[in-house]
Amino acid sequence: MTCAEAKILLHALLDGELDADHAYEVEAHVGNCPHCAADSHGYREMQLALSAAQLRFTAPIGLRRRIERALPSSPPRISSRRSILKGFAMGTALSAAMAASLVIGVIRTDQDHRLVADVVSAHVRSLQVEHLTDVQTSDQHTVKPWFNGKLAVAPPVVDLTAQGFTLIGGRLDYIDGKAVASIVYRRRSHVINLFVAQGSGSADHDAKLETMQGFNIQRWSAHGLEFFAVSDVNADELREFVDKFEAALQRSTELTERINGSLVSSPDRK
C-alpha cells in the first residue's frame, strides 16, 4: 500500500468503515510508516476533540413550536379506547368482572404511556432550554449532596466515565407532577438523562426497553427507587448504560443504607 492510498483509507479505518482485509492492510502500512503513523495519531486526536466538543445546535423553541403547529397531532388513543367502551355498551357477552378488568387494563396502559411520555418530554425539555444541569460537575461527590434537602429520596450518583459514560451533572425535574432527580450523563455527543423517583412500593423489576418519538427509554426499579434512563443513543448502548450503572451501584454496598437513612429522616428534634 502506498502513502497516497493510506492517506485516504486511514480515515475509513478511523471511522470503522473498512472491512477486515483492508483494515489489516492499512494498519500494516501505518505500523511501518512514521509519516502515516503521525497522521493517524493526529486525526485520532482531532476526532476525539470533535466528539468531546459541543458542536451541535439546539433548535430554537420558536422554530419547534412553528413546526409542531404545522403538524397537528390527532388523538388516536382516545378514539381506540372509546371504541372498546362502545363495544361494552353494545351488550357483548363479556361478564361485568371481565369488562371491568379490561377497562383497568386499558387505563393502566394509558397511565404508563403517559408516564413514559412525561419522561420523554422532560428529556427533550432538558435539551431545549439550555437547562441541562442545575449542578454541573463530573464529580459524583458534588452531585449527590446537591440533591440533599431538595428531594424525599437521595438518588444514587455514580461516575461511569471510565465505562464510557461521562457524568456531567444533576438537575431537579418534574415528572407526573412530582419532583424527581435527573442525573445527566454524556455518551459521545448524546445526552442520557437518568430520572430517579421514589419507588411506588411494588417489587423490583428488571429494566425493560420502550421507545417513543425516536427515543429509547429503559425503565426499572431497584433499591426502593424507580429509574428511567432516556436518550437518543441506540438501544444496545442504553442497555449497556443500565448494566454498568447497576454494576457500579452494587459495588457501593453502603448505598442502600444511606438511601434508607434519608427516607426516615423525619424531623425528630428533641
Binding site: H11, A38, G42, E45, A53, P60, A70, L71, S73, S189
Partner: protein
C-alpha cells in the same frame, strides 16, 4: 365521524411527527453549518419539514434522518441559488478538481493536538464553519451527525469513494486550520 381520507391524513401526520420531530436538533444543526446563519437555518428547517410531510408517502425507510438531511440539503441549495451567494455551488468544482496535493507539511507526532483537545467548542465550531463546501458538509454529516459513509453518500448523492476522499480532504484542512489557530494564539501570548 370524519371521512376516511382525513383520518388517513391524521394518521400520516402523526406517524411523520413521531418519526421526524426527534431529529429536529440534528436537522437544525446541519442547516446551521450549511447556511452559517440562524435566521436562514430556521427558515430552511421549517421548509424542510413541510416538504418532508408532503412527500412522506414516498419515504421508504429504514432511517428517516438521512432522508430529512437530503431534503434539507435541497432546500439549502435552492436558498443559496436564490440569493446567488452560492457558497454551496461555487467552491465545489474548483476545490474538488484540484490535485490531491497534500495540504499539510511533514507532520511530526503532534503534541499540539493534545493541547488543542482542550479547545472550547466555539473555536472548533468556527473552524468547522470556515471550511469550504463540500468538505464542511462531509465533516458535519460524519462527525456531528454521525452518519455512516453509505448514508452520507445517499444524502449528498455521490459515490462512497467521493465521500471518502472528501472526508480525507476535510480533515486535513481542518487539522491545518486548527494547528494554525494554535500557533497564532501562542504568538499572542
Amino acid at each position: 365521524m370524519a371521512g376516511n381520507g382525513s383520518n388517513d391524513d391524521d394518521e400520516k401526520t402523526r406517524r411523520f411527527r413521531d418519526a421526524a420531530l426527534p431529529h429536529l436538533d440534528d436537522v437544525y444543526t446541519l442547516a446551521r453549518y450549511l447556511l452559517r446563519n440562524t435566521a436562514d437555518a430556521e427558515d430552511a428547517v421549517q421548509e424542510c419539514y413541510l416538504r418532508a410531510l408532503r412527500h412522506f408517502n414516498a419515504f421508504r425507510g429504514p432511517e428517516i434522518k438521512p432522508w430529512l438531511f437530503a431534503i434539507l440539503r435541497n432546500v439549502c441549495r435552492g436558498e443559496c441559488t436564490r440569493r446567488s451567494r452560492s457558497p454551496l455551488a461555487n467552491n465545489v468544482a474548483a476545490e474538488e478538481n484540484e490535485d490531491a496535493v497534500p495540504l499539510w507539511q511533514e507532520s511530526t507526532v503532534s503534541p499540539e493536538l493534545e493541547i488543542l483537545r482542550q479547545r472550547d467548542g466555539n473555536t472548533i465550531r468556527r473552524l468547522v464553519e470556515e471550511l469550504p463546501e463540500p468538505f464542511r458538509e462531509a465533516i458535519v454529516l460524519r462527525e456531528i451527525n454521525e452518519l455512516s459513509y453509505r448514508e452520507i453518500a445517499d444524502v449528498v448523492g455521490a459515490p462512497i469513494g467521493t465521500v471518502m476522499s472528501r472526508l480525507a480532504r476535510a480533515r486535513s484542512m481542518l487539522r491545518e486550520a486548527w494547528i494554525a489557530e494554535e500557533q497564532e494564539e501562542s504568538l499572542l501570548t
